[in-house]
């Protein structure tokens, strides 16, 4: 495929209304929105042409997010601001594009770029802000944190400590909240429910997986100096 296409990156949020839409359905919903917005999206060649839209790391079913990313391609340049408005007007309630930029040439796609993600873990009332205040540092101070991690065929014991970059107590009033930065992407990827479960285990409290909720705050890549920056920082061509 020749590539004279113009590439764009967008950052969007996925709210409470749409958190039960799985990744594949979300992709389709997005593609339909692009059609309704009459964005002149480019298609792949081949037997079964599809829209050239790709998303960063899939979000687990039931999670909300304020930091999702995707890239799409157009056969020619169009005004980013106008497109953002048009798409926002037709997205499902609960989805909203906050930024849309034309990509500089040479920027890697979102999935290849992402290396870390920030999540907020909202505990139910069993885990208090005090539990977090008193124990989080000690929990992080452990040399290793072993959990049972599900793989394709079985579950195996894995140390997740190396994949936790940092964590902080982010509680509000009586609601216990941990904000955690973890490795993310196609090479190393830690899901925050394992942090939540192991933290509960560490303080001898029950982890009720249906009562804890999660929000992805943002996703990050590394800049030239190796610093973590948001997937949309500095990628635009203005």
């Amino acid at each position: 495929m020749t590539n004279d296409n113009v590439r764009y990156r967008f950052k969007f949020s996925k709210g409470d209304n749409v958190k039960f839409i799985g990744h594949l359905d979300l992709v389709v919903a997005f593609q339909r929105a692009l059609k309704r917005a009459e964005i002149p999206i480019a298609y792949s060649n081949g037997f079964n042409p599809h829209q050239l839209v790709a998303f960063a790391l899939p979000l687990s079913l039931g999670y909300t997010s304020t930091g999702e990313y995707g890239d799409f391609q157009l056969p020619y340049e169009a005004d980013a601001c106008e497109m953002k408005q048009k798409i926002n007007a037709v997205l499902p309630d609960g989805m909203y594009i906050s930024e849309l930029v034309k990509l500089r040439s040479g920027v890697k796609n979102t999935m290849a770029s992402v290396c870390a993600a920030s999540y907020s873990i909202f505990f139910d009332y069993d885990i208090t802000p005090n539990d977090i205040e008193v124990n989080l540092e000690k929990y992080l101070g452990q040399e290793s944190i072993f959990v049972m991690k599900k793989t394709k065929n079985n579950t195996k014991e894995t140390d997740i400590r190396p994949d936790i970059i940092s964590a902080e107590n982010d509680s509000v009033n009586n609601n216990g909240i941990i904000k955690v930065l973890v490795n993310a992407g196609s090479i190393k990827n830690l899901k925050p429910d394992l942090v939540a479960e192991s933290f509960c285990g560490y303080i001898n409290k029950e982890y009720n997986k249906y009562k804890v909720s999660y929000r992805r705050n943002d996703m990050f890549m590394k800049d030239a100096e190796g610093q973590l920056i948001s997937l949309i920082d500095g990628v635009g061509e203005y």
Binding site: D25, V28, Q31, P92
Partner: protein
């Protein structure tokens, strides 16, 4: 908006998006701002119901009224039902997430017989009394429509109103009257009596059914002076001016059909004798192709779908088909929008068209032969010869296709083992046809997927008096065909025989069958059209417990003078015509289609459609 169900529960059920609404083009109104709340219920799972065209039409038709809020509800899958019952959550609508109990109308569309236990279950889950006579003044009116409504007798004790015909015709009148009666402080009973003035509306409680000692019907008598002896269906005559939505509900999860739907016409000219749709929807009424092209434009724009499907009972019979197909191709072929053409007769024109539409990808070709031998195809008036099928296949194979789908039926009236063997032989012949192509021109292997359904005699068809095969007999016949097939390229499957048997009971059931439906539901029957949920043993027990015989309904031939449970309903086609058609069937005589020669079936009385074409 507050969800009716907590996240904690939603996280524990399969596909939680089924229960939260919020789809594209969902109508939002404040329930307290409207006079009438209407719950449109599809008694099956979300993905099936959301693929139903009637829902899409009526949803926007009812919501175009400012005084009405039409919301949707589907049958919760058993995992969700369990959670809802455990937590005391009543069945709610997707839009407002509020219980159906407080609606003015709860309407069910009845598209197949095996959804009846779901109807009862949905009422019960909403906290609504199941039987009409038990419902209080503050409970909703239960209304049903759809193809099974033409014999809704098994549900007669549960529904208040049966709507016979096309929704666009009477709903405004029904709702205007309802509003008037509600404002005047009148009762539901008074409203139902008032509805007796309207043809097309059947109120079961105003009719008494008496039985003879042998279980057949002695009489169906109106018990109210205003109740008509015969209630006649209502239809739309002008398809170009009738309401059609400019948008569609676009689900946020994958459903059975994700596409824009264009309705080419209603009714069918063919008169295949087994086909209920071919009689109950008469006469054929077409939409103009310009109307359709306009509707396509709106729907594509407002949905974002990448497929347009043309819907009708026989696409090739659409008189402006070339204009429509070319119009759609011109507009959409460069816009990455596919056009799908179900129920297409295979000839050189349609193949040429399919070539254009599908450039590279070759989907499979479908032939609904229905019977294996010419004699039996003549019996059912299926106007398709072996020559048509084989030459169609040859054309398609030459054009690069290599997959053929064949549909048959087992247990058709007058069927012999030779007719069954002919099914196997026809499939083998199709494979042989493929091998007539020079070897170098057939790079891929051929496959013929043949499937057979089990014939179910339906009301308002010429075979409404016939006995249905037993499920044991269906099983023997299915095996016979399977064993006869020689070519390994042919795959043959047949439908669940016991499910077909139950469908046969329901289709021609009377009011007594309602007791068995209730009993089956009490024993836990749900989603009876789902193989993994269907429990025939429970159904047998339900009939036993209620003193009824399934054989009486399914496997018994009726005499012409027997009163049938649906004799007080008219679809326009006369009983005399159906009986004549049956006699012709037994002589293997075919009948010309509506465009060739009018047979005076009775549908002319509606004053429109093909009956008046020059």
């Amino acid at each position: 908006m507050n969800k009716a169900v907590s996240d904690e529960i939603l996280l524990q059920v399969d596909k939680p998006a089924r229960y939260v609404g919020g789809e594209i083009n969902m109508v939002k109104k404040n329930p307290s701002d409207v006079d009438i709340r209407f719950a449109f219920c599809f008694p099956d799972v979300y993905e099936v119901g959301m693929s139903h065209l009637g829902l899409q039409i009526l949803y926007y038709f009812l919501n175009r009224r400012e005084d009405t809020y039409c919301e949707r509800a589907f049958a919760p899958w058993p995992d969700m039902e369990e959670k809802m019952r455990e937590n005391g959550i009543e069945l709610f609508s997707l839009e407002s997430q509020q219980t159906l109990k407080n609606f003015d109308f709860v309407g069910f569309t009845l598209q197949y017989e095996l959804c009846y236990t779901n109807v009862l279950n949905m009422l019960d889950m909403a906290g609504i009394h199941i039987k009409s006579k038990d419902r209080k003044e503050d409970e909703p009116l239960i209304i049903c429509g759809g193809s099974c409504a033409y014999n809704a007798e098994p549900l007669a004790d549960f529904v208040d109103i049966v709507y016979l015909g096309e929704g666009e015709v009477l709903y405004d009148e029904l709702l205007d009257l309802y509003k008037e009666y509600k404002k005047a402080g009148k009762t539901k009973a008074e409203y139902l009596e008032r509805l007796l003035d309207i043809d097309g509306i059947y109120i079961p409680k105003f009719y008494d059914v008496n039985y003879k000692p042998d279980g057949t019907i002695k009489s169906i008598t109106p018990n109210h002076p205003k109740a008509r002896k015969i209630i006649k269906k209502v239809i739309v005559n002008d398809m170009d001016s009738v309401f059609y939505p400019e948008k569609q509900l676009v689900p946020l999860i994958e459903v059975v059909h994700d596409r824009v739907t264009l309705e080419l016409f209603r009714g069918c000219i063919r008169g295949c004798r087994f086909c209920q749709a071919g009689f109950i929807y008469r006469p054929v009424r077409e939409k103009g192709y310009k109307t359709l092209l306009n509707q396509a434009e709106n729907l594509v724009k407002n949905s974002g779908h990448e497929e347009i499907s043309l819907i009708s009972l026989a696409t090739s019979d659409y008189t402006c088909f070339p204009q429509l197909a070319n119009g759609l191709l011109d507009e959409y072929r460069d816009k990455n929008i596919n056009i799908s053409l179900p129920s297409l007769r295979i000839d050189s024109f349609s193949l040429d068209l399919m070539q254009k539409i599908q450039e590279v990808r070759k989907s499979s070709l479908t032939f609904a032969a229905e019977a294996g031998s010419q004699r039996l195809r003549d019996v059912i008036n299926k106007n398709l010869t072996e020559e048509n099928i084989l030459s169609g296949c040859k054309l398609a194979f030459d054009g690069g296709w290599n997959k053929v789908k064949m549909y048959f039926m087992l247990g058709l009236p007058t069927e012999t083992d030779e007719d069954l063997e002919a099914i196997a032989d026809l499939c083998d012949k199709i494979v042989e046809k493929y091998f007539e192509i020079p070897k170098e021109q057939r790079p891929r292997p051929v496959t013929v997927n043949a499937s057979a359904s089990c014939f179910v005699p339906k009301p308002f068809t010429p075979f409404q008096w016939d006995k249905q095969d037993t499920y044991e007999s269906f099983g023997r016949k299915g095996a016979l065909v399977k064993n006869r097939i020689k070519r390994k390229q042919v795959r043959f499957t047949y439908h669940n025989t016991m499910m077909s048997s139950l469908e046969g009971v329901m289709a021609r059931g009377d009011r007594k069958v309602g007791n068995a439906v209730l009993r089956a539901w009490e024993m836990g029957c749900r989603f009876d059209s789902w193989t993994e949920m269907f429990d025939f043993e429970k159904w047998k027990k339900a009939f036993e417990d209620t003193g009824l015989s399934m054989e009486f309904y399914a496997n018994r031939e009726r005499s012409y003078d027997e009163i049938l449970p649906w004799d007080h309903i008219s679809v326009g086609v006369s009983k005399r015509f159906l009986a004549e058609e049956r006699e012709r069937a037994y002589k293997a005589q075919t009948t010309p289609n509506c465009r060739q020669e009018c047979q005076n079936c009775g549908a002319k009385a509606f004053g429109g459609g093909v009956c008046y074409d020059k």
